[in-house]
């Protein structure tokens, strides 16, 4: 019999072994903040190596992303799509399913919202129009996961591959839509524009649109559904061991399809709030590529939808402040990908060391002693 897939990084593994709740909480914090600190340190060394001052670089990030009032508002606004995508990813990751196709789901939903938005907002009262566009976006996002979900549910086809393929198709299709049927009257390939007064309302006194509140409510619901309902339990059982789940009477194919659809729907909603909250239109070849970048956040939050909020805030500061800091330092903004990638690497390393410590093993590399059995 083949070994069941290892379920990494869920919150169950070590807490029960830790001596107290406090120690457990300290350990969890260390595991989450540690990798970020290490990654920022490593990137600081890289910045030094290419002749930039890391202190002023990080200073710029904090200044532009957190301390300036306008930057702080942008950061909070940026959290809306990130939180929704994170919520969508957590649902499938809980079941040990991989949805690596969020960019395609996001962009296709964004194209549909931006393409149909001007007409719908012109025809319906604003709240109805927003609701309808959100539903459209969620439907598109969910439907784009259907093929991978069905192939996985019925043939066990590797969903990593299929969702990745669908993401590339989705990006192409979104561009075709924006350049073709949805192209507005301007010469630039972009959709018609939803008038500013018909965009999502802002929180009074700020530029922060209510998409952020929608996103916070959504991750709250995801948290409750995953921790308080039988559906959440089914996802967890499926994630731990698909065979055991089938024996327990879980309808595995249905849970897979529902989980993927919910995931895609939240990612579609993320696109809707981004388009309706900030832009009002979509340019061809626009791709914020949140997909892979959000993955580290949900793992740092250990697949807990509420715990993802501070990490989304960190990501917001990093991306908003990073745009300014990289421009100041004359570096490509892709530098942030390196930060995120390193966070992920340090995260698995920290996870490993901390698991070992929790089991009472040495965290130092084991050296083979002379005459000892070859382990």
């Amino acid at each position: 019999m083949s070994a069941p897939p290892a379920v990494p990084l869920t919150e169950t593994s070590t807490e029960s072994l830790a001596p107290s709740r406090l120690a457990g909480a300290a350990d969890a914090t260390l595991r989450s903040v540690g990798p970020i600190a290490l990654a920022l340190f490593a990137c600081g060394l890289i910045l030094l190596a290419i002749g930039r001052d890391p202190l002023s670089f990080y200073g710029d990030i904090i200044e532009a992303g957190l301390l300036r009032p306008s930057g702080l508002q942008d950061t909070i606004t940026r959290m809306a799509p990130v939180l929704l995508i994170a919520g969508g990813l957590i649902i499938v990751f809980r079941a040990n399913l991989w949805n690596l196709g969020s960019d395609g789901q996001f962009l296709l939903a964004a194209a549909m919202v931006a393409g149909t938005g001007p007409a719908i907002m012109g025809a319906l009262p604003a709240p109805l129009g927003w609701a309808l566009l959100c539903v459209i976006a969620m439907t598109i996002g969910a439907s784009w996961t259907l093929i991978p979900a069905l192939l996985k549910a019925h043939y066990g086809m590797n969903e990593i591959i299929t969702t990745l393929m669908m993401t590339f198709i989705g990006i192409g299709a979104a561009n075709l839509l924006v350049k073709g049927p949805f192209k507005g009257s301007s010469t630039v390939p972009q959709t018609a524009i939803v008038p500013t007064d018909l965009l999502l309302p802002v929180i009074p006194g700020t530029r922060i649109h209510i998409g952020v509140i929608i996103a916070l409510v959504a991750v709250g619901i995801v948290y409750l559904v995953l921790s308080r309902t039988s559906f959440g339990t089914r996802l967890d059982v499926l994630g731990a061991n698909p065979r055991a789940a089938a024996h327990l009477g879980v309808n595995v194919p249905r849970v897979i399809v529902v989980a993927f659809a919910a995931s895609g729907a939240l990612i579609g909603l993320a696109a809707a709030v981004d388009i309706l909250g900030i832009f009002g239109y979509m340019r061809a070849d626009w791709n914020p590529a949140y997909g892979l970048k959000v993955i580290p956040l949900v793992f740092l939050a250990r697949l807990n939808a509420i715990a993802v909020v501070p990490f989304a805030a960190f990501f917001g500061v990093l991306s908003i402040g990073g745009e300014f800091a990289t421009r100041q330092a004359d570096l490509p903004s892709d530098f942030l990908l390196l930060v995120i990638g390193l966070v992920l690497i340090f995260m698995v390393a920290t996870q490993y060391l901390s698991d070992k410590r929790a089991r009472g093993e040495t965290i130092l590399p084991r050296h083979r002693q002379r005459g000892a059995p070859d382990v």
């Binding site: 299709a173 570096l331 892709d334």
Partner: protein, 311 residues
């Protein structure tokens, strides 16, 4: 449709297919070896990209494409070392580490390119084709098939070598059992860690060579994100080939052709939107996956870490 039988179109299609297919072939051969040993290497894209950048630098510095390809392979191998340490030795999640490798490589290459070249994109000289006597004068396809840069023939040779190696050698057998039943291999006294490490390093080196080929011979320059999902296509090619190198060859060539279809169509004056063409390889993968969904067979232990004593 008569334009499609035009010799210029066919020549352009085959030549373009080879040009775009060779990087895929190197990478998918590597992935085939890794998958056979039980490793799903999602970091392939990052390894290709690193190979493309570092190999390009080496070729630019020395003016020698062979040095460029070798250094690119070495760079890919070093990136694969991360996966060896984290996934093979420590048994950590292959997909997370793979994503981390891809993200870091995208960031690092873009950063270094920006620091070293800014907005300029230095070019290498085009690599001359090596015409095989007699064969290259076959009408219509001979000119595109048999007068290719030398590394192309090297790639074909590698397919032969890998196929023989996996089927006929003891190490090949051990590699396959590491992917199917690592426990049995361990019980037979062979180190699963060593076998998988070797497979992963080979995979990284091949992906690096593929990336270097892409930037040095294919594009003649490096732009950030030049691989543009090719690493992921290579994973699919390897998967569809179900561990058989010859199928990786056929798959890579077909994907190469669909990647180069725009250019070929433009040669005969047919314009289709570039987005359609960009989607084409992925659409064909999905169609193939749907049609052959029942047949997709992957090694039993693919993606699972092997830790002695754990169930």
């Amino acid at each position: 449709m008569s334009e499609l039988l035009d010799p210029t179109f066919l020549t352009a299609l085959v030549a373009g297919g080879l040009l775009a297919g060779i990087p895929l072939l190197f990478a998918s051969l590597g992935e085939t070896i890794a998958e056979r040993s039980g490793l799903l290497n999602v970091g392939l894209e990052g390894m290709m990209l690193t190979g493309a950048f570092v190999g390009f630098l080496a070729a630019l510095g020395t003016g020698n494409i062979w040095v460029g390809l070798a250094v690119g392979g070495l760079a890919g191998l070093l990136v694969a070392l991360v996966m060896v340490i984290f996934c093979v030795r420590l048994g950590l999640d292959q997909i997370i580490v793979g994503i981390a490798i891809t993200l870091s490589a995208e960031g690092a290459t873009s950063l270094l390119h920006g620091t070293m070249f800014g907005q300029s994109y230095p070019r290498l000289d085009a690599v001359a084709g090596f015409a095989i006597p007699v064969l290259h004068s076959i009408p219509i396809l001979g000119g595109s098939l048999f007068s290719q840069p030398l590394p192309v023939y090297l790639a074909f040779g590698l397919v032969l070598l890998t196929s023989w190696f996996l089927r006929r050698t003891t190490i090949g057998l051990e590699l396959r059992s590491a992917g199917e039943r690592p426990g049995s291999l361990d019980a037979a006294g062979v180190s699963v860690v060593a076998v998988r490490s070797g497979a992963e390093l080979t995979c990284g080196a091949l992906a690096g060579i593929g990336g270097a080929y892409l930037s040095i011979v294919g594009a003649g320059t490096f732009v950030p994100f030049v691989t543009n999902g090719m690493g992921f296509i290579a994973i699919v090619v390897a998967m569809l080939g179900r561990g058989r190198p010859w199928w990786a060859l056929i798959g890579s060539f077909l994907f190469g052709m669909s990647l180069s279809l725009t250019t070929a169509l433009q040669v005969v004056g047919i314009d289709i939107p570039v987005d359609v063409v960009n989607m084409l390889p992925f659409v064909s993968v999905i169609v193939i996956l749907i049609v052959f969904a029942r047949d997709a067979k992957l090694p039993a232990a693919l993606g699972l870490p092997y830790l002695r004593g754990s169930r």
